[in-house]
Symmetry: C2
Subunit: 240 residues, 2 copies
């Protein structure tokens, strides 16, 4: 169908189509950059007990929501107008799926910011902050790499993100056990440690979303759905 | 484009197309029914400390994953082959988005099942189970109604689901506070109450996903994106 349209209209439509796909990609990456910065800032606000920064993140979430809706609308317009197939269709559908992941990353950042404010109100104590710092460094790397993998359509890098997710899950479990110990030691730690635990949970979810984005990148490039498959199977698909 | 194809090929393609859309809808609802049953069973396994049932849910999750991948593939084939526009396109894209929500509901059910096993190992105690029962009744209703709203393309019912989500969020906050009190009262409650808290959190997430499905139903029917809008704005869109 697309081929015959190209025969009729020549390359003009085709070039416009490519421009539209590129614009969609660019908008998605811009949104990705924004939520990446939000996660960074939320962790910073927490560690430094910076309420003003935390409030900023909470108010910026509206911008992320708006971007999600705009990108979705753009993607649907492309499908309706350009009727993409094969690799182009995989790109557009993947963007629709991944934009939901980015929006949820933004939500997790907002949640961390909320706990940052609560924790700073409860007074300074760095219990569990080492764990937060550690895991946040890993998941922000994962998020960055997943967006980079999308920008360069690099399925090898996407595979690395999938592998990193397993490690983050283990680190999260270990950190949760540490916090449980703090809570058992002294009941006065409970409320505070619970907040830190929700933050760790939010970070772990950011890692999951980065992993989802990585799986979509592999789908775009290789045409195979590697969700719910083992890392070994994903390795076979990526071909390394 | 679609209109001219219909002129050329007559109603034959159009009927096939409708059959495909109907089949997609049916598959989605079947998956919906399965995850609904999983949430029900997971809560039952928890309340009754039924490990065998909990194990069953964990192993059934693979079936849900498979359904997600199959429905996504079918939806993409429809886009590539039928090049839907307007309402049909909204339906197909919404299915792609909603199937991710259903898969996550399945994940939450699996998580509840895991905690059910952990809690039954730690010995019987019904602390917080009243809250679990209460919130699970509400979110399973929401999930059921959201799927029903999709089956009947009933935007009014979808709006009710959106409203119910606000109430569940409040109930969840109250339940979390109750559990925090139990934990502070006696350190021996901490580990157990934490598990119950994760279960409540999983249920609250099920409510969020039901709400996402409801928002997609309104989008399908009304053509307007009501995500991130107030309930009042959604009311205006639905027209009541």
């Amino acid at each position: 169908m697309t081929a015959s349209r190209d025969d009729v209209y020549g390359n003009h439509i085709s070039n416009q189509f490519n421009d539209e796909l590129l614009a969609l990609k660019t908008r998605f990456l811009k949104m990705g950059g924004l939520v990446e910065a939000q996660v960074d800032s939320a962790v910073k606000a927490l560690i430094e007990a910076n309420d003003a920064l935390a409030e900023e993140i909470r108010s910026e979430d509206k911008r992320v929501d708006r971007m999600e809706m705009d990108i979705d609308e753009e993607a649907m317009l492309i499908i309706a107008r350009r009727q993409p197939t094969a690799r182009d269709l995989r790109l557009v559908v993947s963007v629709i799926r991944m934009v939901a992941d980015l929006e949820r990353v933004g939500d997790e950042a907002k949640k961390i910011a909320r706990f940052a404010i609560r924790l700073s109100e409860e007074g300074r104590s760095a219990q569990g902050y080492g764990e937060v710092r550690h895991i946040s460094a890993h998941v922000t790397d994962m998020l960055h790499d997943s967006l980079d993998a999308f920008a360069r359509l690099d399925s090898g890098l996407a595979l690395q993100v999938m592998k990193a997710d397993k490690r983050v899950d283990e680190e999260y479990q270990a950190a949760a056990r540490t916090l449980l110990t703090f809570m058992m030691e002294d009941a006065r730690n409970i409320s505070r440690c619970l907040s830190v635990m929700w933050v760790l949970r939010a970070l772990e979810r950011v890692g999951d979303h980065a992993c989802n984005i990585a799986e979509n990148v592999i789908f775009m490039v290789k045409g195979e759905d590697v969700r719910h498959t083992s890392v070994e199977e994903a390795e076979r698909v990526v071909g390394r």
